[in-house]
Symmetry: C2
Subunit: 315 residues, 2 copies
């Protein structure tokens, strides 16, 4: 069953999103309209709706989807400074148009609106969960920066970064509906674990493709992470296998002629590509196994299909 054929309240979501982020300050409006129009794939709201469906329907599901999307969007706005990304979702990064200041403050505005939604939803446990997610997110992002600055690479740091940046939010997407549904502890735990592992696999794939994907599919040049000194599992393994050669390439941030092509060749020659693909597949399977705790439904199937997509199309 394809995810798209399931009825999800995505239209209600889009409508309410526009309503929630509306501001009478023009510069905020310009940035938020950019985000809304750019749209993105709404992966996180979809996760909320599928998890809600798998629980047989959940009150406040649209608001829950808004909370995760606003958190994600605020992170994008605060992240553009970090990434120095040329493009984001195919648009010129917001901060290049309006300046860092307005980006950061508009991100803060989204966080304020998110908090307002949480107050309306009236579940204090959810406030605590969002606080924990936001903490892991910011710690993960700063750790990524710190690791890049100090070139202090480790698998432990990598796991924490992908958990913070992505796993913590996808966990919230899946566990949040369970809280709103007052689901049994076992189902809640299963959804939380599914969300966490799925998000980690998602980020692992993203990081892998950043070096190993084709620029056409990526929609950007390969090797962005290498240029920014960001730790990924691929570069970590390359450093272990070829400390001297890869160490040199990473220190010069892949800016030598043929550097990135050389890294790609080494990945394939050493079999690191198969190793990483296998690690992603394992993470996906671990995620899917947790879905057993939920009753069979097309929504559960769709969650499984969503996760399985991460271990396919890895080039």
């Amino acid at each position: 069953m394809s995810v798209k054929s399931l009825t999800t309240p995505l239209e209600a979501f889009e409508e309410r999103l526009r309503e929630v982020i509306r501001s009478d300050v023009e510069f905020i409006r310009l940035i938020e309209e950019d985000l809304v129009t750019a749209g993105g794939k709404r992966v996180r709201p979809q996760l909320v709706f599928l998890a809600s469906g798998a629980l047989g329907g959940v009150p406040h599901a649209v608001d829950m989807a808004l909370v995760v999307e606003l958190l994600h969007s605020a992170t994008l706005l605060h992240d553009d400074l970090v990434d120095d990304a040329e493009t984001r979702r195919g648009q010129v990064a917001a901060f290049r148009k309006y300046g860092n200041a307005v980006s950061v403050l508009s991100g803060d505005y989204l966080l304020a609106r998110l908090m307002h939604l949480l107050a309306e939803m009236g579940r204090m446990e959810l406030v605590a969960m969002v606080a924990q997610t936001a903490r892991e997110l910011s710690e993960g992002e700063v750790l990524q920066f710190q690791v890049a600055a100090l070139a202090d690479y480790s698998l432990e740091a990598y796991e924490r970064i992908i958990t913070g940046k992505t796993g913590s939010v996808t966990r919230l997407c899946c566990e949040g509906p369970a809280v709103l549904a007052d689901a049994p502890a076992q189902q809640r735990q299963a959804l939380a674990q599914f969300g966490l592992l799925y998000g980690q696999a998602f980020q692992m794939r993203d990081d892998y493709l950043d070096l190993m994907g084709s620029p056409e599919v990526l929609g950007k040049p390969v090797g962005g992470d290498v240029r920014e000194g960001k730790l990924t599992r691929v570069t970590l393994r390359l450093l272990e296998e070829f400390p001297q050669e890869v160490g040199q390439i990473l220190r010069r941030k892949g800016e030598g002629v043929g550097d990135l092509e050389r890294l790609r060749t080494l990945v394939v020659q050493s079999g690191i590509d198969r190793e990483i693909v296998e690690a992603i597949r394992e993470r996906v399977e671990a995620a899917v196994a947790h879905l057993e705790a939920l009753p069979p439904s097309p929504y559960r199937d769709a969650l499984e299909a969503l996760a399985r997509k991460e271990s396919s199309r890895l080039s």
Copy 2:
């Protein structure tokens, strides 16, 4: 009665602050230690403690003080990008040491911790109030930027900016304790109004001294707002009185020889100085009048004294 002679739980506050913002991510720790060590005057926590005292004591007062201080500190971290300030609280601005990225993300970390405190405090009404404050704050800051970018000055915009940047937070400092104490509506309303008006007066004085104060007292060169194109009531009135000459000076951001001195002279010659001082005094008196709704106490007296300070020492 001086404010300092009142026993406030400021020591408990400092201790718990260190505990709440502790992170095992080193780069976050460095920035937060900067903030904690720099200390600042803790004006906002003091307001919380005085309002709590005026209500005869309030549960969670220390946590409430932490919430407002974390919100304020996060704003400083996100604001350094905006201000391009050379110094902040006498320290080198955090972002110059560690980069914009870490500053913004460490600010986000503080917001996450603040949300966690709110969840622990367990009052949903407070979550809504903090959300509203954070909204006004971010909207006020973006509006300030927008007004500077478009040179679109008006008294209405100025009032909204000082309310967003300062009044909304000081209102939270005073109204929050009333919520926690389940105070009667009249007392809650009075404290909210006192906080709002006091904060506006505080910001009006700050803006006035930015041009008219002495550099020694300010601890920085005068005219920072003029250089950043920021709207203040002084520049607004100057523009009304001397549209051509002041318009030219503001368009070149006060960078001509003798520009700032000329502005100061015009302010005194035209009597705008006395006019602004009077406006601040009126705002302070309006704030103080609301305190009548509270029973007499040394805490109420201290709130009054705090507000009155804003309309004295205006040079």
